[in-house]
Symmetry: C2
DNA sequence: ATTAGCACTCGCACCGTTGGAGTGCTAATC
DNA sequence: GATTAGCACTCCAACGGTGCGAGTGCTAAT
């Protein structure tokens, strides 16, 4: 069967209505709608066809129709109007995002809470992967007789440090020499190169003169590098999940919250997803906990290299166009602000040209 | 009316039974219990008295009795047997806690997840307040032409750092001089002193020679100090809250999760609580979200000074004695391990003398 | 003072009923 | 041939009634 023009129109109306009301929509209400000048009976026939084609379902015989995941997919791919944020909305986002802080992680965290606040959904934001971050500088500083602090500075401006106990006495001179040797050996390497490459071996022979200091330092160096690779996952609006009718079933809500609070697993799942804006609807999600919701992720970049992600989880009947617009603007802004921070910025963050709405059907803002 | 010996015995039996079964307990089941050799009728009379006195309630006429908050309070204060952990249990906790990591925050986080895993409750753990932490060392290090890294090292071994942009060119010599001046001025001060005292004013005049470098550095110094004061709150087992029947009401579960995920507010509430082991039961909690649950917090110390807290939230019918024992052991262990890390440790962590159980009634282990 | 006995209460689970919303089908209409 | 009006039908959700079981409160006997 073909998806005629009229079928599409009806399907779109059903989806829009259902997104607004969350109620199964019947033929009568549809026929009263602006632009749909067919009788309920006609619409019923079309709906029956659409159901046969898999775009609609039927909670029970005497209920209205509900869009299926397939319908949302069609909607997102083809029917959806790309909504443009108003100047005011953009201003709010930009202001809130650059509020006070300049700290990397802090900004990302901010982005997550901002996103959940605007959308009323559960949101999260991931700090960038730093595998590609380049080591610039390694420094060892005395603290007291047996303690020194190691710090690693990367090109992106990230500083990691760690206090460590020395099992052998040290002098400032030796410490300094060791710092310089390490910097010489690792400068310009990426963090993951430093971790995997076997520089340590031939390096240790070099510094055997330092009477065991390297043995104290190197393991900590490796640990610190590993820590630099850790990505943080921030989350907000967790309780918004209860707005979704499916999750008024406590067992489901529980397993959802369980999944979300497993940060390591969640991080892994998010990293695996493709970059750019990616929408997965209902059963398209691999996790059974997500089979009733949609997941939208968007990636941002720093210097076009390190890539982090933000995302939202909400009901399949969410305002896709509005939300993707918000996320798009947000990631543009994030990528922009990190470019700035890294020093060599050109100022053109988040291009402002108001690329007008092309598709004018299906307003879905409340 | 007086709380006779027999009333106490019955009350205790009711509480124990209810903690186990979560079902209202009736007179018949009680009379069949070991040690309670009274007829159901007698027990019913006593129960009626206990209810009048406020220790029991009645979900409805034809249901068994349920202990009130007042009853749990009595139980915790007087009836409860102090349970001692077995050697095995202690070993498990100690091992898991000192697993791999030596990092401060990491250990606390570990403690939270360990606690929730053992108790099957929602748990949290707070890193110590660091107001009293003493500044040891301030260092400014060059990164590139316009970027320097500032690091602050404290007596407790904590290192904080921050990368900052300089608006004026700097030389390494000047940077070094500034580091030394700052260290000279702040060494030995606590973090909160450094923040509140007005050293900055007369300090800035000192270094006017440094042609504005101080203007770039000082605000960042203050911010970093502020950051050092931040306490982190880790949480685990959030979804365990769904085990509590009261929270199968979605609205309640929602507001609970909302409360818990407001980390700043939660932190404040926890800090306000008295130190030591503190149990608050049901309506004793100020927050309405907690009026159906009990909250147990315990504090740990580092060098007897900096104080953090761990805690659990669970049903009022929880195994108080077991759980307080676990928390006691855990905090002892935490305090002990931080003493070690700070360097000048005497080795006596978590005193091991097996102070035997004094009270032998009411076993409440499953 | 304790206990046995019994009437009573109440929640819960299980019907059967009713009403309304919405469908599917058929026959009439454009 | 496509559209529509009409109508019988289905199903859910809400409501009220009923029976059962657990547990109480009271009274009278021990």
């Amino acid at each position: 069967m073909e998806l005629s023009e009229r079928k599409l129109k009806i399907l779109q109306a059903i989806i829009s209505d259902y997104i607004k009301t969350a109620e199964p929509v019947g033929s009568r209400t549809l026929s009263k709608q602006e632009g749909l000048s067919y009788s309920p009976a006609t619409i019923r026939n079309e709906m029956a066809d659409l159901e046969e084609m898999g775009y609609l379902t039927h909670p029970h015989t005497s209920a209205g129709r509900v869009p299926s995941d397939k319908a949302y997919r069609l909607y997102v791919n083809e029917l959806m109007a790309k909504s443009e944020l108003s100047k005011e909305e953009k201003a709010i986002i930009a202001n809130r995002l650059h509020d006070t802080t300049v700290d990397f992680d802090e900004t990302i965290k901010h982005a997550a809470s901002l996103l959940s606040e605007i959308t009323n959904l559960t949101s999260f934001a991931m700090t960038p992967k730093k595998n590609e971050d380049v080591i610039k500088y390694i420094n060892l500083l005395p603290v007291d007789e047996e303690t020194v602090v190691m710090m690693i500075v990367s090109e992106s401006g990230k500083v990691s440090n760690r206090a460590l106990k020395m099992s052998v006495p040290y002098t400032e001179d030796k410490l300094d020499l060791l710092s310089k040797t390490m910097t010489y050996n690792y400068k310009g390497k990426t963090v993951s190169q430093a971790l995997t490459n076997n520089i340590i071996a031939n390096f240790e022979t070099d510094v055997v003169a330092m009477s065991g200091m390297a043995e104290d330092v190197m393991p900590n160096f490796m640990k610190t590098l590993e820590e630099m690779l850790n990505v943080n996952l921030y989350m907000d609006g967790l309780s918004n999940i209860f707005d979704i009718p499916e999750y008024s079933d406590v067992a489901k809500a529980r397993s959802f919250i369980e999944m979300m609070t497993q940060k390591e697993e969640m991080t892994k799942k998010l990293i695996e997803r493709d970059d750019g804006i990616l929408i997965t609807i209902g059963d398209e999600n691999k996790d059974s906990e997500l089979s009733d919701v949609s997941l939208i992720t968007a990636s941002y970049s720093v210097d076009g290299k390190l890539v982090g992600k933000i995302g939202v989880i909400g009901p399949t009947r969410m305002r896709y166009s509005k939300i993707t617009s918000i996320m798009e603007y947000l990631t543009d802004n994030l990528s922009g602000s990190f470019k700035l921070e890294s020093g060599d910025a050109d100022e053109d963050q988040a291009s402002e040209d108001p690329e007008e709405t092309q598709n004018d059907e299906s307003r879905e803002d409340s």
